[in-house]
Symmetry: C2
Subunit: 335 residues, 2 copies
DNA sequence: CTGAAAGCGCTAACAC
DNA sequence: GTGTTAGCGCTTTCAG
């Protein structure tokens, strides 16, 4: 239980005031640099008292009084997903640049936990909540009931009444498939997540449309979890049936798993099967072969999200779509 | 700014009391299931009022009153390091199992940010703080001044006055090097971090001792950052000079970077160079070849840490060392 | 420029 | 079983 040695019961604002021979209001003015001016000499006395007593303001009291914790929260669905973490990191940087502290809460893939985390943070008076939701759909009413600004991240499309940010999945997929087409492939497969709501994922639509535009039928489509293991299974499935000459993987994690399956089977990438992936996470750069991938503009998205939340230039409750950028590496056959 | 539609100014406990025709104390008893009993009929009325008004307790007020936010904090040095995230995830699971919410704060490699995050969380009345520190050393006085229980994670050794947990790096390194020795290697290199304090990292000591015990001189030792890129540089350096027949990498991330360098140079693993690594992160399983690694017992460590923090069976301010387990995969030459 | 004092929403004695 | 009430530590209006 690691207790501090001989703790005097934590100095409060009143102690400081007494010690400095001023009123508690003045201490407040000094601590917050306002809202009222304080005479230099008085300020010095207060500062000295603060140091002497080791006084540290109670943030909970301040949050209660102000109705604001001066902090934003980010709820993520998986703290072990590299892409999500890239995004979380970017959000933190963007929030810091705007003078806001950010705390992270993980919903660990559970809609129930997500809800609980959101409620918990909202009850603590955070100034805003950023959400990368577990599911493809969110309940606008539940979000509204938090009575705190909420902005959705990593979304394929908008949600009525909320600001949201995401990459244009459709356009990205089209670009990826077209690149594979450019390499002369005719039989291109797809690894994609399992459809959680009715609508087709933008990446799947893009895949199909790009192929149709080239008058080609879609190759084998495999549905698997957006995890390394999901990709591994997808890879094995692709080898067992269909065996396309190229695959478009809808996430780097899946692609990494697929590479593993291909290596294991002695199938060479890109010679036997070319791969183009989606996300642009660091793993895509360091796996072998390095993945040609559609990199999501993480920093820009994070900034837009924080702006939308904090009332910056993109504060209207609309969807902000960003373009993925094709990063060419070896897995597509270019190098 | 995504506002909620027509927000009545957030119902408070008094509103609920009025609506239900009871006192505010009773509302409190209902909300908290105690500490006093409430008649079933009354409870129903209160519950109905809560639902009708959409009342949600103000956690900041509760934290102020109780002096406890009923929450623990975990401060990590890098939210993009897979191993750290494994650990963070395990801590979250362990905390949840003990009925505690956990929030995550990232210090992003900066001691100053680490300090700020700790202070911020402490001021919010968290019940305890778990810290994976940026540096090899921590300032016990600064930690004590937080006046909140603190337990250190991912430590090679103990810190006077604090509970801490970590893997026995020395023993792990010895086991790893001995395994390589068992494969007949005579020229074994080491990739390790840059020494941030005076003392040698346990892994380096283990490496040297294991070799000495076999009457072998240490192979080339390369110091690099504990990142994929650090490992990549280390790998290139190893190829340029020395070129051992095996390498012990002190983290999976470094190993992944090394593999990249080896692939690039057409050097085969394990045939040309065998690799054994440390950590046991998921990437070690999915890279190619899969890494033989000393897996840290993440779940057990997380549980010990949370217990130490919350006053469970391992609550004394001492160091808890765990043994890494050798997980055999292909990179060492076994498969 | 400084002080007194009223609450923010909640909990838990203490009364009845 | 329920009501009254005194704060938790802070900010800020209102008086000087």
């Amino acid at each position: 239980m690691t207790k501090t040695p001989a703790t005097r019961p934590t100095a409060t604002r009143a102690d400081v005031a007494r010690h400095a021979g001023v009123s508690s209001a003045v201490v407040s003015y000094v601590v917050n640099n306002g809202p009222r001016p304080v005479a230099p000499a008085t300020r010095e006395r207060v500062l000295a008292a603060i140091a002497a007593l080791g006084y540290r303001p109670n943030a909970a009291a301040r949050a209660l009084r102000l109705g604001s914790a001066e902090m934003i929260g980010l709820v993520i669905p998986d703290n072990r997903n590299p892409f999500i973490n890239e995004l979380a990191h970017a959000v933190e940087v963007a929030a810091a640049a705007r003078g806001h502290v950010m705390v992270l809460a993980n919903s660990d893939g559970s809609a129930a936990i997500e809800e609980a985390q959101l409620r918990n943070l909202a009850a603590r008076q955070v100034d805003g909540l950023l959400l990368i939701s577990v599911g493809a759909t969110v309940d606008p009413a539940a979000l509204a009931s938090l009575e705190v600004p909420v902005v959705l991240l990593d979304r394929g499309s908008g949600t009525e009444g909320f600001g949201s940010v995401g990459t244009d999945l459709y356009a990205g997929a089209v670009a990826g498939v077209e690149h594979l087409l450019g390499h002369g492939h005719q039989n291109i497969g797809l690894a994609i997540g399992v459809a959680s709501d009715g609508r087709l994922d933008g990446r799947e639509r893009g895949f199909r449309d790009a192929l149709a535009a080239a008058s080609l039928p879609p190759g084998p489509v495999v549905r698997a979890a957006f995890t390394r293991d999901g990709g591994y299974r997808a890879g094995r499935q692709l080898l067992a049936g269909g065996r396309p000459t190229a695959v478009f993987a809808s996430s780097d994690m899946q692609a990494v798993g697929m590479l593993h399956a291909f290596h294991e089977a002695g199938v060479r990438v890109p010679d036997d099967i070319a791969v183009v992936s989606f996300d642009g996470s660091p793993e895509a750069e360091f796996c072998w072969p390095p993945l040609t991938t559609l990199a999501q503009p993480v920093a820009a998205m994070a900034e837009a999200a924080v702006d939308a939340l904090l009332g910056g230039p993109s504060a209207e409750p609309r969807h902000h779509a960003f373009d993925a950028q094709l990063v060419i590496r070896r897995s597509c056959g270019c190098a």
